[in-house]
Amino acid sequence: MTPPVLEVVGLRVEVEGRGDDIVDDISFAIGAGEVLGLVGESGSGKSTVGLALLGHTRRGARITGGEVRVEGRDILGLSPAGLRGLRGKTVSYVPQDPASALNPALRIRTQLEEVLETHAFGDSRAARAARMREMLEEVLLPSDDGFLRRYPHQLSGGQQQRVGLAMAFACRPRVIVLDEPTTGLDVTTQAHVLSTVRDLCSAHGVAALYVSHDLAVVATLADRVAVMYAGRIVENGPERVLFRAAAHPYTRRLVEAIPEMSGRHALEGIAGTAPRPGQRADGCFFAPRCTYAVEACTIELPPLEQSGEGHFVRCVRHAEISALGVSERRPAPELPEPDTATTLVSVRGLDAWHGDRQFLFGIDLSVLPRQCVALVGESGSGKTTLARCIAGLHRDFKGELALYGKPLAAGARARSRDDRRRLQYIFQSPYSSLNPRKTIAQIVSQPLGLFFDLDHRETHERVVATLERVRLNPSAMTRYPHELSGGERQRVAIARALAAEPTLLVCDEITSALDVSVQAAIIDLIAELQREMKLGLLFVTHNLALIRTIAEEVAVMNAGRIVERGKVEDVLASPQDAYTKALLADTPSMELALAAGA
């Protein structure tokens, strides 16, 4: 076996001044042409590890131990000049958000050329220009002068990320760090960028570290996967082993939280939150949330032990868990039967505008009582505009909107109190939908004050009951939103909607700002509430896999039109519209990736 191109041994990064570790005991190796997926939820330290491979940390952090060997040479000992010579040339970096990582004031040509110039790539200006064009062609971008003269904001998101890739591959690096490079891109664009990454890495024999929170993406791309939790690698092994029969409880739970298009799995979240730097107690960091935990788990952090061929696990019970074999997924509970006697909400011939531009064209849609209708589309498809028209937040539209057959005014303020009460909207980001200056009790009681005539004691009782309904401890009442985790905040937002005793919930991408394990728990809660409270649900999402679990009907949107409607199983199994077909094909799926690899 040839020696790995990149080897990381015992890497430790600390919070500057305090000495609390952000990540510690990080060891892995990547061979030429190999892609290692580094997965973890937000705050796990995966990006910190990625940047450390270039000898870099963000402000407030410092690398304090371990080695990063590139072709046998430890780069952490290099002088600043030595590091500069390494960065962009031997080890290069593809950032998460290309829109903010490209300098807005410089032309594309300048930004590409300077990498080559700095590292004296090629003998002459002409040679560098030729290399630049070659690179642009490799990442499937135009290479004419017109394109090179552009500024970053004149490119699409996908093009910007391709420029990032061209820059990273320009000097023929040995190692490349990709830090969630497709987050925020549409699935179609994402699929194209991913295939470019895969081709370039294998063609040039580059060792790649692909940092991501999205297990499905990693499954389609990586040869091996390392899972991070609270600043440690908890499991590292071949992709197929890890996703089929993981030996660490955290990995197993993570896989179970992923929605799949193939069947109606129940999504199971992981309760609790990961400990942050400075709050990590002795023992396995996952133990407090682990269903397999025994007393030994709370005494000291287990070492990374070998469990199989190239498979390492940080768990005292890994042998037993490994022996459980392939994890079977539990089917989701049956969806409630919709009430076909009346129509809860109906939209007919709706056109909507933002200023001069028309965003929605002739939309027809209806939701029955107790029915969950999913509205699926990529960003810019108009799905959120439609949801906002229904919720009374977007008034610039023409067409019919009715609630229980009675016309609904445009704009919430023009509607009757009862209409506003019956129709509740839950926003995408719980970080912005809760007023940071109000306590949870004030937030949840807001609709109570507007819609019901309650005294102080009754209000308090309703708030407590509603919080319990969304599985939040009533002790949260006196908290402010920033004291809660993302998942807890989204529960508060749901509680605020439920307090109004609605008949229709409009859920606008309510899990897209959350980690996958939290997403699972929220979806589970929404499905349960729908069953028990007999709610109608309009579930807006870009995630096709999610709708399988929760929705009965689906409407697919593209460029302001509904292109396909039908029962969820039918649409997913045999899509009729060309756009739906392409969308399904481009959606990364762990199961498909595993099936294809087997």
């Binding site: 960065r87 040339k89 970096y93 950032p95 807005p104 004031a105 410089l106 990498v115």
Partner: protein, 338 residues
């Protein structure tokens, strides 16, 4: 940046929309003229229609019915307010600002004409010193954030920003003009008809006072904007590309850091126009500032109106220039106009 964008949005709402950069410049200039027109109304309203009678105010206790009547006629106070205003406005366009009420009753234009040069020289020197100085101070402080230089400048600039100009000016006189260094004159004696650049010593203290008044603001906004830029993803990316620190700073950071500061620079240069009122008074410097104070003391309305509109015009002009300059240095805003 946001104020430009907002200004742009507003400009677009009110006025017709020729496209492109020149369209923007045109709109911005028209908007500036509109502001000036409104400003002229404010000046006129403040001097002519506030409670109190301009003629009586000027003549004070010595007023006789005859002299009051004469002055009222001279100031057109007997006509309806609107026609008074139009008459005055028409005068501005003809270069006729009326006659001063004091002394030999010269035309206002000749009273202030010579003084504009004196004040202009003072402001220009102050601007030429303070703009590069404050940009450098702000950029260095940002680069060495939380270091000794940063902390020292932050406290000194904070104190300087807090002090009213006349306090700074008097402290300068106390320190440099009296006991310690006798060579700097505490009073600027420039004879009528003399050019200020022939009296460099007379300029030193007023210029320092103005530089102290303006530098802190620009330096602080420059520091804040540079810190934001230095923390940006694209500067991190530039470092991760292996670029030399010099290139990172000069090519990637500084151009983006200066753009938001341009607005503040213009605002503060315009602020110089206000600052000279007090500073010139302290040093008895023969510019439009001290003339303004004198005119207010004497209730010399035509002169007050003329100087008020002149200073406001300088202010508006600089703001328009700043908006245009910001557009020109920001490719993103520039192309959004196409």
């Amino acid at each position: 940046m946001s104020t430009v964008a907002a200004g742009f949005e507003r400009a677009r709402g009110i006025l017709p929309r020729p496209r492109g950069v020149w369209g923007f410049v045109l709109r911005r200039v028209l908007l500036g003229l509109l502001t000036l027109f409104l400003v002229s109304i404010v000046v006129f309203a403040a001097t002519q229609t506030l409670p109190g009678d301009a003629a009586r105010a000027f003549l004070g206790r010595n007023a006789t019915p005859e002299s009051l009547a004469t002055l009222r006629k001279q100031l057109h106070l007997n006509e309806p307010v609107v026609s008074q205003y139009l008459h005055w406005l028409g005068g501005i366009f003809r270069g006729d600002l009326g006659n001063s009420l004091t002394g030999s009753q010269q035309p206002v234009t000749s009273v202030i004409g010579a003084r504009i040069e004196n004040s202009g020289v003072l402001m220009l020197i102050a601007a030429v010193i303070s703009v590069p100085l404050s940009i450098a101070l702000g950029a260095i402080a940002a680069r060495r954030r939380d270091g000794v230089f940063d902390h020292t400048t932050s406290i000194v600039l904070l104190a300087l920003a807090a002090l009213p100009e006349f306090v700074t000016a008097i402290l300068l006189v106390v320190l440099l003009g009296t006991s310690l260094f006798h060579f700097l004159p505490p009073v600027s004696l420039i004879p009528p008809g003399g050019h200020p650049w022939n009296y460099p010593k007379e300029l030193v203290l007023p210029v320092i006072a103005l530089v102290f008044a303006v530098t802190p603001y620009i330096a602080r906004i420059m520091r804040a904007s540079m810190i934001e830029v230095l923390e940006s993803d694209y500067v991190e990316m530039a470092r991760l590309k292996g670029l030399r620190e010099q290139t990172v700073l000069w090519r990637h950071a500084l151009p983006n850091g200066i753009a938001p500061a341009i607005q503040v620079i213009a605002l503060n240069l315009a602020y110089l126009a206000g600052g000279i009122v007090v500073v010139e008074f302290v040093f008895a410097y023969p510019g439009i500032g001290s003339a303004f104070v004198g005119a207010v003391h004497n209730r010399d309305l035509p002169t007050v109106q003329a100087l008020g509109i002149l200073i406001a015009a300088a202010y508006v002009f600089l703001n328009v220039a700043a908006d245009v300059a910001t557009i020109l240095v920001s490719p993103r805003l520039r192309t959004s106009l196409k």
